[in-house]
Each structure stands twice: as C-alpha cells, then as structure tokens.
C-alpha cells in the first residue's frame, strides 16, 4: 500500500514531520517497506521551448532541435516527435534523468551522427497519460513565463510503501492508516463533511441479486450518472495518483481509483448504455466466457459470482470488469457499482482463474460493508464536478443485513497476556479512537466492533489492538527462568549429532543439499522405491523428493571435480523419502570419497581411495557411536548402484534384522552415465533409523575390568581355502574354537597366485592365546593348535599350508 504524507494529511491533523511518521507507522504495525523520493528525481524535468527545429541530416523522421531551458541556456536535442516544431513549449529531460515510464536513465548520446543532450518528453513517458503520439504541448499563456522552471510541482512527494498485513483491509485505504495513527497519538483524525447526493432522479436500471446457494454478493449499491463528458482528470487528481505510483487514465477511472485508495472502497463504473436491460448478479455456469479489461478471455466454471445482463457476463464481481461494458472517453451515461462481495468466494474464483487485481486483493480481505453509500456519494459527486451530468438516487439491493459484532471483553485479560498494566482510561481512548463503541458492564466491556474491522472476532484481537497502539516497547522484559521439563536431546537426537561429528572427524566435509533432486539423478539410486513428484516444482531439476542420500551428493562431487578439485570427501546427514505421506521418511548419513589419498606427497605413496577406506570410516563411526565391532556382521548383498564385487552390507549383529549400512565402490556405469571423471569413487550409507537406540548409559556400558596376568602365546597359521570363502567367517570359526583362551585373531596376509590352486586363496592369521585363570603349558598350546587346525579344516574345507 503506497501513501504520501500529503494524502495522509487529508485525514489527519498533525504538525509532526515525515521522519517521525515513518517511525510511528512501523511502531503500530504498519511496516514501512520503502520510501521512494519522487521529488528529487522529478526536479530534473524542466519546462522548455523549442527555438529551432531542423530536419536531421541523416534521418527523415528525426529532427534536431535547439531547446531553450531558461537563463539563455540552449541544448541540442534530437527528437522523433512529429509535433516538435519551433515555438512549442514542452518538457525537457536532461542527461542523468530517469524517464518515469521506461525507467531508462538518459545519457548524452549520438543519434545517427548528431549528439543529443537529453530528451523531450511525451505524456506517456512521464506517466501522465497514455498519450504517446508526440511530445507534450504546454499552453503558451500558462507556461511562457515558466521556461527553465521545474515542470512538476515541488511538494513533499515521498511515496511511502507500507507492507499491510493480510488482517488489515481497512489500512488499504489512507483513511484507515490515518485512524490508526490518530489512535496512537500521532495527530487528530479529521471528519470531513460527507456530501450526500440528494437527487430526485430514479436509478432506472434494474439490479437484481439472484437468490442462490453460495451467492458471493451480499449487497449491490449503484447509481446512474447521465450525460457526463469523460475527460482527462484535473491536475490535483492526477498528481495525487502519481504520488502513490498510480497511472492516471481518465476522470471516471481516476475517481474510482482515488476513492478506493482513499477509503478502501472499490467501485466499478459501467457504460450504462452498453448494459442490456439490467444487471443480474448470479453464479456463473460452466463454460460461460467473457473478455475482461485485461484483454484476456476467461472461461468460467460453475458458481463464480458474475455481474451479468441479458446478453451474458459483464464482469467478475469484485475481481475484474469486462470490455463489453467498459467506460471510454466518449462514454455518456455511467452506472457506478459499490458492492459487498464475500471474501472466500472472491478468493476461490481468482485462484481458479489465476487473476490478481487491486479489487480482488481488497475484497478477499474484507471490505467495509457499511461503505457502500459513502463510496457512491463521494465518487459520483467528484465525477459530476469533473465531468458534469446528473446523478440518480442510490439504489441498494441486499440479500443479507450486516450487523456489527459484539465482543464482551474482560480488561484484566490484557495484563494477563501482555504482563503490562495500563489505565482503563488509556484503554478506552485507544478503542474509541479505533472506532469501537463500548459500554461498561459489571465485569467486562461490551464492545461493538467497527464495520471496517473484519479481523476482530474475539478478546485476543482486542488485546492486540491495545498492545499495538500503546506500543510494544512498553511491555517489560522478563528474564528467562532455567526451569526444565525434559532433557534437551533424546537418544535419537544425540545419536544424530554424534554421527554427524563422528563422520566429519574422518575427514569428510559436511554438505547440506536440498531434499528434492533431479529425477535423472534420483533414478540412479532409487531402486524400487516410489518416486515422489512435486506437482509444482520451480524447475525440473528439483522435481522429485530424493529417495537416496546419494543423488545430490554425487551431483556435487561431480561439480567439485569439474572445479578441478581432485580429492574430495563429502557427507550429508538428512532425510530421504520413501513415500509422500508425513513420516514416510528416514534419516540417512551418506558419504562419498573421490580421488586419491596422499596425492603428491613426498613421503607417502599415493593411492586411489578404495572400499576399505570407506569401510573403515563406516565401521569406526559405528564403533565410536557405541556399537560392538565384534558383533558387526557383513555380507555382500548390496543395491545395484554399488560395484557388485566391491561393496558390502552391514548389520549390527548376525541375526540380520535391519540393514545398518552399505559401503563400497560406486558402480562404474553410474560414473559413466553422469560423466564423472575421477580415479576412484567410493561411498557409504548409514541408516540411522535402523540403528538400535537402546544404548545403555555410560555408567552401565562399563563391564568389570578384567585382564590376564598369564603368559600370552602367539601362533601363525596359513590356510589354503576356497577363493569365495569369507574371512569374516574364518575369524568367527577360529574364535569359537575356544573363546575363553583365544583372545585375538588377526589376518596378516591374503594371497592368491603362484603355488595356490586357481580356485583357492591363502589366508594367514595370527592368533593370540591367553588364559584368564591359569598359565598354559606346552601341551595345552599344542592341543589348542591342533583343535584350531582340525576345526577350520573340517568346517571350511581348508587345508593348513605347510
């Protein structure tokens, strides 16, 4: 909502200045979004006289003019206007000025070889009218003596743009803003005498509101103005509209706009001669069409509130008028409409048709139902003043009566909610100034809500009004109490934060990427999950919710590789989506590593990142998070986006319940598909929601401390075993031979090749043997050695390597 201080002063008696005004507006909740200075800009535009106009040497349609801009100063200007001729008084814009219409900043420019210093302006370019043929012709008698002077009147022309919250339709009119300011002590509200139209002429055009279900129009007021001569608006009116960024069009349109901006009363003017027989306000029928003032044809659905005549739809009530009945400069008789349309009906219709108009914006927020007559009075009087003609009596059709709401307000509630005690006198003053009528009852106030405040429905609304106008700065600040009802984080949240930092300590940079992703990337990792489309994405690149943590991560790995960063470790912890219902999501940690380790190191040999790097990262993270390494169980059943031979699946224990994670090389086909160029790309995923959360407290995690003081023996064995046999199982089998005395099993060599059959491999293990309760004798050791070999050979088909 744009206003100017000048306009405010039509309603507000104040001696204060604009700076204070801006502060006060913000303090009472009418936020100042910007202040645009029109005057400084406009001072550049000068009244000027063409003293010579010659044909441009290189262009038939251009003229080179010598322009006098006062004090003997003459400027050469190239001009294309047909009417540019010697002696014409017009408006000159110097280099540096910004043309209001086009927002082009003028510079000294060569036009077909002739240098032009500035420009002569048309009314269109100055936003004065749509007249774009030729430059402005100012009357000699009026402007002869003003050559060199500013064309625009020097006024306090700052245009103040307010951000009006959707609950305050009343402040979409200057008067509403003035009323709020007055209530807060910034000036006094003026009560101008409203001229009531006293007419003996009947409103002869019949108006009917159809009694239908879901009728969107409750009241339709109208009057006829006959024999008008539509014309350009007078300067005061044009100036007023321009001062708030509106474009003057013609007197009739300008007057309706002015009344709308002044008291938030939207009106619509019809060319009465174009209305066939009479007005019927009714619900539209599916398939009906009409051409609106925006020159677009709209196809209507059932149940939209339309203004129609015998021929069909004239306009969408409260949203936009139609071309067929629009006023023009030669319109003679007009019908002025002032109606009340129901907000929800307005909103439904405009949403369906995707229509945004000033009237719609206002009606959907709620227009004062009691402003029907005053709107007609003001507008018709003004039109008559400017365009002449005769005004008819006002006709009001109604299907519903408006009654002011009454609220019983308990004044004590104010202190309860705000913590602030204020004097009841102050309360009454604020409410009275805002337009409330009040009666004091025993324990409460009986408040009658003004008709322009559809947002006031209950006591809390009253509290806000008083608090707002009285000033939030009056409310005292109470220091917070440290009282706690629950621990800050629950176990799942603690786990989340722990994993996040645990992964980062492994050398990964944390990324936060969008929860949505490119369908193309999502498909690479989605497996058999359901695709979840966003039905109104801002671009197809983020058209689906991600089914995997990898789709965005790999995208950004690729982007960084393209930046020539060769060695990358990125991870993200966040949601992935399994369905489109709330809750069908899970938290996943995903990490990707690309490139080499120790690239260009003088001391270490470089090597590609590999599966055992990410295996270490994921296992160490899980172990740090409190899961027992010796219980972790791994197999090689992994999703297809991993390398089928170089990837693993992790369970927290062998009784495979839920997958804790995956790790491995990313499938080379994926790298090929999205053109990733790197030496190696490996990754892991941890499914946080699948991890057990029944972790004990620290104090319960510590078992009894137990170490052995007896001699430890170490023995090395090498087994020739099936190539596909899993080392994990071998370790398990050896450990199980006698868990009491086999304290550790390490694999220190794996070998395939010479001297080993093709389908076999050699695994060398180092086994530590130590008893907790007695020294082991040589024969004990011999026994256990033999048992180990026998067991392994029996259970795995392996042979001890001699």
């Amino acid at each position: 909502m744009k206003i100017s201080f000048d306009w405010l002063k039509d309603h507000l008696k104040t001696a204060s200045n604009e700076k204070k005004l801006l502060d006060q507006l913000t303090n009472i909740g009418l936020e100042v979004e910007s202040v645009e200075s029109l005057s400084a800009e406009n001072e550049l535009f000068k009244v000027a006289k063409i003293i010579k106009a010659e044909k441009h040497p290189n262009a038939d349609r251009l003229k080179v003019c010598d322009v006098s801009i006062g004090n003997g100063d003459i400027k050469k200007v190239v001009c294309g206007a047909v009417n540019a001729k010697e002696g014409l008084i017009t408006v000159y814009a110097p280099p540096g000025a910004t043309i209001p219409k086009t927002q082009i900043n003028l510079e000294v420019a060569k036009i077909r070889g002739v240098t032009s210093y500035g420009m002569l302006c048309s009314e269109y370019e100055l936003n004065l009218s749509d007249e774009s043929d030729g430059i402005i012709e100012l009357s000699k008698s009026q402007y002869q003596k003003k050559i060199g002077k500013c064309y625009f009147k020097k006024t306090n022309l700052n245009c103040i743009d307010l951000s009006i919250t959707p609950n305050r339709p009343d402040c979409l009119g200057v008067r509403g803003i003035a009323r709020d300011l007055a209530a807060s002590g910034f000036g006094k509200l003026k009560y101008p005498n409203e001229k009531e139209v006293k007419s003996k002429i009947k409103q002869t055009l019949s108006v009917k509101i159809a009694k239908e279900k879901n009728q969107g129009c409750y009241t339709f007021g109208s009057c006829l103005i006959t024999n008008v001569k539509n014309t350009e608006s007078p300067k005061w009116l044009k100036d007023k509209l321009i001062s708030v960024g509106q474009k003057p069009i013609s007197a009739i349109v300008d007057v309706t706009n002015y009344v709308m901006l002044d008291i938030n009363r939207p009106l619509h003017a019809y060319d009465a001669d174009k209305i066939e027989k009479g007005i019927i306000v009714r619900n539209s029928k599916s398939g009906e069409e009409f051409k609106a003032l925006d020159n677009k044809t709209y196809k209507l659905e059932n149940g939209m509130c339309v203004i129609s005549d015998n021929q069909g739809v004239l306009g969408l009530g409260g949203i936009i008028g139609g071309i067929r009945s629009s006023t023009e400069i030669n319109t003679k008789n007009i019908l002025l409409e002032s109606a009340y349309f129901e907000p929800v009906s307005i909103r439904k219709t405009s949403k369906k048709l995707n229509l945004e108009t000033d009237a719609k914006f206002r009606f959907e927020r709620g227009i004062d139902p009691n402003s029907i007559e005053s709107g007609l009075n003001r507008a018709s009087t003004l039109i008559k003043e400017i365009c002449g003609g005769e005004i008819s009596k006002i006709d009001v059709q109604k299907i519903k009566n408006f009654k002011n709401r009454t609220i019983n307000f308990d004044p004590d509630l104010f202190e309860k909610v705000t913590g602030l005690k204020i004097h009841s006198k102050k309360m009454f003053q604020i409410l009275g100034d805002l337009g409330f009528k009040y009666k004091k009852k025993k324990k409460y106030l009986e408040l009658k809500v003004p008709s322009w405040r559809p947002d006031i429905n209950q006591q809390i609304d009253i509290i806000e009004e008083i608090a707002r106008i009285n000033g939030y700065d009056q409310i005292k600040t109470i220091s917070p109490k440290k009282e706690r009802y629950k621990p800050t984080l629950n176990k799942i949240q603690k786990l989340f934060h722990f994993l996040q930092r645990a992964v980062a300590t492994k050398g990964y940079f944390e990324a936060i990427t969008w929860s949505f992703t490119d369908q193309k990337y999502n498909n690479l990792f989605k497996q058999n999950k359901k695709e979840i489309k966003i039905i109104n994405p801002i671009s197809s690149e983020i058209g689906v919710l991600r089914n995997s943590i990898f789709s965005n991560l790999i995208f950004y790995i690729r982007k960084n590789l393209n930046r020539d960063i060769k060695d990358l470790s990125l991870f993200e912890i966040g949601p992935i989506f399994n369905g489109s219902n709330p809750g069908e999501q899970e938290t996943v940690v995903g990490g990707l590593r690309a490139g080499k380790i120790s690239r260009l190191s003088w001391i270490e040999d470089d090597r590609n990142v590999d599966i055992f790097d990410v295996k270490k990262d994921i296992i160490q993270t899980l172990v740090e998070a409190g899961y027992n390494r010796s219980k972790i169980y791994i197999d090689d059943n992994t999703p297809s986006y991993y390398h089928p031979g170089k990837s693993g699946r992790i369970f927290l224990n062998k009784h495979k319940d839920k997958v804790a994670g995956y790790f491995g090389e990313i499938h080379p086909n994926i790298l090929k598909k999205i053109e990733i160029k790197t030496e190696a790309l490996v990754g892991f995923e941890i499914f946080v929601d699948n991890l057990k959360k029944t972790k004990k407290l620290f104090r319960d995690q510590k078992k009894n401390y137990q170490v052995s003081d007896f001699q430890k023996s170490e023995r090395d064995f090498a087994f020739i075993i099936d190539k596909n046999f899993k080392s994990q199982e071998l370790i398990q089998i050896i450990s199980n031979v006698n868990p009491n005395i086999i304290s550790n099993v390490d694999i220190f060599d794996v070998y395939e090749g010479e001297n080993i059959p093709n389908d076999k491999k050699s695994i060398a293990v180092n086994i530590s043997i130590q008893s907790l309760d007695k020294p082991l004798k040589d024969e004990d050791l011999e026994k256990i050695n033999k048992l180990i070999i026998d067991t392994v050979e029996k259970e795995t088909g392996a042979k001890i390597r001699s």
Binding site: T26, N27, I28, G29, E31, P166, N167, R365, K416, V417, T418, L420, I460, A467, R468, Y472, D473, K476, T477, I478, P480, K482, E483, R484, Y485, K486, T488, L489, Q500, R501, A504, T505, K506, G507, Y508, E510, A511, I512, T513, W514, F516, K533, I534, N536, I538, I542, Y556, K559, N560, R563, I565, P575, S580, P582, Q585, I597, S598, S601, I603, E604
Partner: protein
C-alpha cells in the same frame, strides 16, 4: 711387583687410552675370558699354600671387581659416544611437510543449529522434530490459517498431490501442533529443521532452515517472550548488549504478533550487530493464538504462552559474515572448507559457543 698388581697397572693404563667398542671387548676377554689373565689367576689359587690362599683370593677378588666395574663404565661411555656420533649423522630436514592431514568440516548451518540448541538448553528448552512432508492441516488449518485465507499467500507452497493435502512444510510451526497434540502442557520446546517454499532468487532458496520455539504454561506472557528472545540474541551473537525492537505484525497462529528487528551498523564493510541505527528483521513471534490451542485441545483459559520462528540460515549469515544464502546449498568444497567448523568444536554451555 706381583702379577696381580702388574695386571692392574697394565689394564688401567690401557683404559686411559682411546678405545673403541671392539678394543675394549678384547681387553675384557683378555682379562676375564677362558684363558684370561684374571681367570688364570683364579686357576692358580689351588696351588698356593693354605696360609697365603685366603689373602691372595681376597686380593684377587677386589682387583677383579675393580677392573670389571671400570671396564663396564668405559663400555657404557663409549656406547653413548658412539650413539651420539651416529645420531649426528642422521640429522634430517624437519621442515619437510608432515604426512597428509585429514580434516573434516561441519556445515555452518549445523554448527548454528547446535549453537541455538545449546543456548536454549541453558534455559530449559528441549528439542522436538517433525516430518518434512506435512499434511495441509498441520501446516495451515490447525495454525489458524484456514483454506482460502489470504495469509496463505505469504507461503509459496510445494505440493505433493493435486488435492493439495500433502506438502513440504513451509515453516517449522507444524511441530508445535504435533508436540501439543501428543503431549500435555507445560511445553517448552524448540524445533529446528528444514523448511521449503517455492521461491528462488538471490535472497531466497527453495529450502532453508527455521527453528521454532514454543513455551506454554499457566502464566507465560509477552514479557517472557521478550526476555527469552533478548537472552537468545545476546547469547547467540556473543555480545553484552543488544538493540532490539519488537514491532507489531500479523501471523495467523499468534496474537498479539510481533516481528523482531535488531540494531546494526556497517563498519569497515562488515556488519556489527547490536549497535547503530539500522534495523534488521530477524524473526517473527507472538502469543500462541487461542484458536491454535483449541485445535490441539489445550485449555486456553488455563494455559497460554508464546511461539517464535527464526531463520537459521539468516542467523548464520549474520554471525559469520556469509553474503549469499544459496551458497549454503551449493557444496563448493572451497566454501565448505572456508566456512565450515572443526568437528571438535561442539558448542556447549560450559565451554561456550566458540573458542
């Protein structure tokens, strides 16, 4: 001179000369080896008369001990010398680079969330969460924003179905609803998380982060709201004084509603929070609307309180001097390295938010 004395003198004189390890070992075996001079003296004992025997044996033992000690001393002296000499030759260029360092980083948004949680933890708030996909009811209707309410225009919403029943939450406020529906007052929670709006330009990203706050009890009023936010902002920006302005505004789910601005100035091209006469909007808040309490079955005659919503990314930008919101989500490795935090820097109450 007796043999013994002679042996001793000879040995002492040899020990005075410069010897290396092999020479002294030779000397040692000369004396104490199988046919060593001292060993041989011991062999002699048998042939000495009984009267002399005792004296001789004792003398021999003394000399033996003495020489042994001296030789061992010399050996360790030589060893130390030789090690020192060897080490001198092993000197390397210690200014060569260390083995490659692996460093990880925590995203500034995550760090900021942890900072926020730490601050609110200090005054008794606990952390709640809600799903990213919400139903229309929790995101709007229950928050007193009915269908066809113009306030819905303030949120450009991503929808997941044609009926517009399922959507990506446009704010963290639905967590209020979920928390209050499943529990009983009092409530004292914050809810950080991802939020989404179909809006994308230099200052808007389609995804961003908010933290919701909710405190409902019997006597929580606007003064508590001011106090809580004042405390938070001061702690967060780690300043002693903060200029704050509560300005009336409108949100359907709070009443009275306010927007909060903080004072700032630009000094040497950098933003200074808490001073100056420029205002910067940083959050929205208010007293929870009675209609909202009704929707979650909380008796608004008995309970009342406040709620707030803060843009986390915005706070991080202000605190850490980050200019471009969109950079948060672009994963530029250099950016993450520059603005990321060491994972060991966990913001806590007792250690403070930062080092």
């Amino acid at each position: 001179m007796s043999d013994l004395k002679k042996i001793k003198e000879e040995t002492l004189s040899k020990l005075r000369s410069k010897l290396d390890l092999s020479q002294i070992n030779e000397l040692k075996s000369d004396l104490f080896g199988k046919n060593g001079k001292i060993t041989n003296q011991f062999k002699k004992i048998g042939s000495i008369s009984d009267s002399e025997k005792k004296k001789y044996a004792s003398e021999l033992n003394i000399i033996k001990d003495e020489l042994q000690t001296l030789i061992n001393l010399k050996i360790s002296e030589i060893e130390i010398l030789e090690v020192n000499e060897k080490l001198q030759k092993e000197k390397i260029d210690v200014t060569l680079p260390e083995r490659p360092i692996i460093r990880g980083k925590i995203h500034p948004v995550s760090q900021t969330i942890d900072e926020i949680s730490s601050i609110f933890s200090e005054i008794g708030f606990s952390v709640e969460e809600g799903p990213d996909v919400e139903n229309e009811y929790n995101n709007f209707t229950a928050l007193n924003t009915p269908d066809y309410h113009p306030a819905r225009d303030m949120h450009d919403t991503f929808y997941l179905d044609e009926k517009k029943q399922k959507l990506l939450r446009t704010h963290t406020s639905p967590v209020q609803i979920r928390t209050m529906i499943k529990g009983k007052p009092p409530f004292k929670i914050i809810a950080p998380g991802r939020t989404y709006r179909s809006d994308s330009d230099q200052t808007h990203a389609p995804m961003f982060h908010q933290v919701e706050g909710l405190h409902i009890d019997k006597d929580i009023n606007m003064g508590h709201l001011k106090g809580c936010l004042n405390y938070f902002i001061k702690e967060f920006f780690e300043v002693d004084k903060i200029k704050m302005r509560f300005r009336p505004s409108h949100f359907p789910f709070t009443e009275p509603s306010a927007e909060v601005d903080i004072g700032y100035k630009i000094k040497d091209g950098k933003i200074v929070i808490g001073e100056g006469d420029q205002w910067l909007e940083i959050l929205g808040c208010g007293m929870v609307h009675p209609n909202v309490l009704k929707n979650v079955n909380v008796d608004s005659d008995k309970f009342q309180g406040y709620a707030f919503g803060i843009g986390i990314d915005r706070l991080a930008m202000l605190k850490y001097g980050i200019n471009d919101l969109r950079a948060f989500f672009e994963c530029d490795y250099r950016w993450l390295n520059h603005f990321g935090f060491d994972p060991l820097d966990v913001p806590t109450n007792y250690r403070g938010l930062s080092r």
